[in-house]
C-alpha cells in the first residue's frame, strides 16, 4: 500500500489537474529605498480547462499576478508551479522557454507589431519555435481562418479594426498551442459589441480546453468566466464560482 503512494503522486505531478499554482507567493517591488508589497502571500491553484477572471481595484495586485502567471517576472518568495516546474527557480532563458511553450498572451492594446503583416504577426511564436517558413505559413493561415481573418493575412494591423486586431492577437496567442491563455483587459479598447465577440471567442476556446486567466475590472466581462478571483491589497479577497483544485 505504502509503495503505491509515490506512484500516484508521480502520476499526479506529470498530469496535474492544476495547470498553474501559487503557493504563498509574495512580490515586493523596490522603489528607491521604499519597499512596496504588491502581493502579500497568495495561494491559489488554477484547474486545467478553467476560465478565471481576476478582479480588483487598481493597486490590488492583479497586474502583478498576471505578470507572475505570465512568467514575465519571478516571485519574491513562495512558489509558482507551472506545468510541474517551479518558475522561481528558472533563469531568464528558461523563463522565455516557458512562455514560448506554455503561455499565450492577449493584451488590452493588442500589441501587434505594426511593421509586420497579419501572417507575420501570427507566425512570431513559430519563428522562435524554429518552424520552417512553409509549415509556419500553413499554420498561420489555419489560425487566421479560425478567427475569421483568413482573407486578411497580408494586411498590416493598421488596416484592421480593433476587433480584428484583437482576433489577430488571439490567433498569435494560439500559434504555439499553449495550455494557458493570459488575457489582460482583452476588451478594454473595444466597443461593447466587438468586446462581446471577443468574449465569445474566448469562451469557445475555453470550451475547447484552454485554461484562460483574464484580468478585468468590468463585471459584465468577468461574468463570462466560470470563476472570479477578487483581489484587494495584494491578497485574495474572495473567490466566486466553484472551488479551485486541490493545492
Amino acid at each position: 500500500m505504502t509503495d503505491t503512494v509515490p506512484d500516484i503522486r508521480e502520476k499526479a505531478l506529470s498530469e496535474p489537474s492544476c495547470v498553474a499554482e501559487f503557493r504563498d507567493v509574495t512580490k515586493v517591488y523596490h522603489m528607491g529605498t521604499q519597499e512596496v508589497s504588491a502581493l502579500a502571500g497568495v495561494s491559489i491553484a488554477f484547474e486545467r480547462g478553467s476560465f478565471w477572471a481576476i478582479m480588483g481595484p487598481s493597486g490590488s495586485g492583479k497586474s502583478t499576478m498576471l505578470n507572475l502567471l505570465g512568467c514575465l517576472d519571478r516571485p519574491s518568495s513562495g512558489h509558482y508551479i507551472l506545468e510541474g516546474g517551479d518558475v522561481g527557480q528558472l533563469d531568464d532563458d528558461q523563463l522565455s522557454e516557458f512562455r514560448l511553450r506554455h503561455l499565450g498572451f492577449i493584451f488590452q492594446s493588442f500589441n501587434l507589431i505594426p511593421q509586420l503583416t497579419v501572417q507575420e504577426n501570427i507566425e512570431l511564436p513559430l519563428f522562435y519555435l524554429g518552424y520552417d517558413a512553409g509549415r509556419s505559413a500553413a499554420l498561420a493561415a489555419e489560425l487566421a481562418e479560425r478567427v475569421d481573418l483568413g482573407a486578411r493575412l497580408q494586411h498590416k494591423p493598421s488596416e484592421l479594426s480593433g476587433g480584428q486586431q484583437q482576433r489577430v492577437a488571439i490567433a498569435r496567442a494560439l500559434a504555439n498551442d499553449p495550455p494557458i491563455l493570459l488575457a489582460d483587459e482583452p476588451t478594454g479598447n473595444l466597443d461593447s459589441a466587438t468586446g462581446t465577440q471577443i468574449m465569445h471567442l474566448l469562451t469557445e476556446l475555453n470550451e475547447q480546453g484552454k485554461t484562460i486567466i483574464m484580468v478585468t475590472h468590468e463585471n459584465e466581462i468577468a461574468a463570462y468566466a466560470g470563476r472570479r478571483l477578487h483581489m484587494r491589497d495584494g491578497r485574495i479577497e474572495r473567490i466566486e464560482g466553484g472551488d479551485g483544485c486541490a493545492g
Binding site: 507589431i113 522562435y128 519555435l129 524554429g130
Partner: protein, 422 residues
C-alpha cells in the same frame, strides 16, 4: 532549425532596414565613405609607390651608380681665363674599383658630351654617351634596327654610333639610315643601330636630353673629343677637365651591394681632396622608398580608419534610436518567448547587414575613385585585392563592434516595462 532562424533573421533585418529606406541609406553613408576612402587611399598610395619602386628597380638593385658632380668652386681662380677646373671620376677609378673588389661583376664607364649633329639637312643637339658594350647589358633597351656597340668596335676604335628612337626620329633617320654617316661636332660616325627610348609612359620624369642620347665607343669619344669641356657662365668661359661622368658598378649579389658601395665610397674619398662624385645605390633607395610607402600607408590608413570610426558611431547612434523606438516590439517578442540572445541576434544582424552593404558600396566607390584619378590626373593607382578584403572585413567588424551595444541594450529591457512603453 538554427540555420533557418539565422536566414530568417537576416530577412527580417533587411525588411526592417527597408522600412526606413532613407534612414538606413544615410546611416550607411558613413561606412560607404569610410570603406571607400580606405580602398581609394590605399590604391593611390600603392600606385604612387609602385611607380617609384619601379623607377628605382629599373636602375637595377645590383647596381651602384657613381656620378661626377661639380665640386663647390673654390678660390678666385675661377674667373681667370687660363683657369681650368679638374674634377670628376677618372679612368683610373674604374680600374681600381674593378681590381679592389672581387664581388664586382661589371663596371661601365660613361662619358657625356653635348654635340651638334647633322644628318642630311637635319640638325640636332645630341648627348653623346661614350661607353662600353656592357652598358647595353645593364640598360637592356630593345633594339629597333641594326645592332649595338660590340667589343670589336672598342678594339678597332670604330667611329660608330647607336641612336635612340627619339633622336633618330628627330633626325628623320630610319632603318635605311643604318650604314650612313652622321656628323657629330665635326667628326663622322657610322650609324650602326637604333634602340628604343626609355618609355615615356613607364618612366615618370624624363629630361629631353636623355631622349636624344647617342651611344658611341668610349675610347673613340675620348680620342675625338678629348676630356676638356668649356662652358660659359655669366660671360666668362670656364674650362673643365672631366674624364668620366658616370660609373656604373654591377655587384654580383644583392647582399654585397651595400658593403661594396661603402668600400668604394671610402676608397674614392681617400684619393681626392674634395668631393666631386655622388654615390647612388638603388637598393638603398628601394629600401627607403619601401619604408616611405609603409609610413604613407599607415597615415592614409589611419585617416580612413577615422572615417570608418565616424561611420560606425553613426550606425551605433541610429541603432540606439531604433532600439528606443522599437522598445514595445522588443517587449512583445520577449513576452512571446524570444530569448535575450535572439533579440541580440536580431539587432546585430541589422547592423551587420547595414554595414556590409555599406562596405560593398564603399568598395565600389573605392574602385571608382582611383579609376577617375587615373583617368583625369593620369596618376597610377592600384586597387589591391587585400585592400578590398581588409575593408569588407573592417566594415563587418564595425557592424559587430558598434551594433553589439545597442543590441545588448535591447535584450536587457525588462519585458514588462517594454510592453508598457508608448
Amino acid at each position: 532549425m538554427r540555420r533557418v532562424r539565422i536566414i530568417r533573421n537576416i530577412g527580417l533585418g533587411i525588411k526592417n532596414l527597408l522600412l526606413h529606406k532613407l534612414r538606413s541609406f544615410l546611416t550607411m553613408l558613413g561606412v560607404v565613405f569610410g570603406v571607400g576612402s580606405v580602398v581609394a587611399m590605399l590604391a593611390v598610395g600603392e600606385g604612387a609607390s609602385a611607380e617609384a619602386l619601379e623607377q628605382i628597380r629599373r636602375l637595377g638593385s645590383n647596381n651602384i651608380i657613381i656620378t661626377t658632380i661639380r665640386p663647390v668652386e673654390e678660390g678666385v681662380g675661377a674667373s681667370s681665363p687660363s683657369f681650368m677646373s679638374i674634377y670628376g671620376l677618372l679612368y683610373e677609378d674604374e680600374t681600381r674599383i674593378r681590381k679592389s673588389f672581387s664581388s664586382v661583376e661589371h663596371t661601365v664607364p660613361v662619358k657625356l658630351i653635348r654635340k651638334e649633329s647633322r644628318l642630311g639637312d637635319k640638325r640636332l643637339e645630341l648627348r653623346v654617351v661614350g661607353t662600353v658594350p656592357d652598358w647595353f647589358q645593364l640598360v637592356r633597351r630593345p633594339i629597333v634596327a641594326g645592332r649595338v656597340i660590340r667589343e670589336e668596335d672598342i678594339e678597332g676604335r670604330a667611329g660608330v654610333v647607336v641612336l635612340t628612337e627619339f633622336g633618330a626620329r628627330r633626325l628623320l633617320a630610319t632603318e635605311h639610315t643604318i650604314g650612313q654617316l652622321l656628323r657629330i661636332g665635326g667628326e663622322y660616325f657610322e650609324v650602326i643601330g637604333i634602340v628604343q627610348s626609355e618609355e615615356a609612359s613607364a618612366g615618370g620624369v624624363q629630361t629631353p636630353d636623355e631622349e636624344v642620347d647617342a651611344y658611341a665607343p668610349l675610347n673613340v669619344v675620348r680620342e675625338r673629343f678629348g676630356d676638356i669641356y668649356s662652358r660659359r657662365t655669366a660671360g666668362s668661359r670656364i674650362r673643365e677637365l672631366v674624364e668620366l661622368h658616370q660609373l656604373i658598378v654591377q655587384v654580383r649579389s644583392v647582399e654585397e651591394v651595400e658593403a661594396v658601395a661603402a668600400g668604394i665610397d671610402h676608397m674614392l674619398e681617400r684619393s681626392r681632396r674634395r668631393k666631386d662624385y655622388q654615390m647612388s645605390v638603388p637598393l638603398a633607395l628601394l629600401r627607403q622608398a619601401e619604408a616611405t610607402k609603409r609610413t604613407f600607408n599607415i597615415v592614409l590608413g589611419s585617416i580612413a580608419g577615422i572615417s570608418l570610426l565616424v561611420g560606425g558611431i553613426g550606425i551605433m547612434n541610429i541603432m540606439l534610436a531604433s532600439v528606443t523606438e522599437r522598445t514595445r516590439e522588443i517587449g512583445i517578442r520577449r513576452a512571446i518567448g524570444a530569448k535575450r540572445m535572439q533579440i541580440v541576434g536580431q539587432f546585430l544582424v541589422e547592423t551587420i547587414v547595414l554595414s556590409m552593404i555599406g562596405g560593398l558600396i564603399g568598395v565600389a566607390v573605392g574602385i571608382l575613385i582611383p579609376a577617375l584619378i587615373t583617368y583625369f590626373a593620369g596618376m597610377h593607382t592600384i586597387v589591391s585585392p587585400q585592400s578590398i578584403f581588409l575593408s569588407v572585413g573592417i566594415s563587418m567588424a564595425v557592424g559587430i563592434v558598434f551594433g553589439i551595444y545597442p543590441a545588448i541594450r535591447a535584450s536587457n529591457l525588462d519585458p514588462i516595462v517594454a510592453l508598457r512603453h508608448e
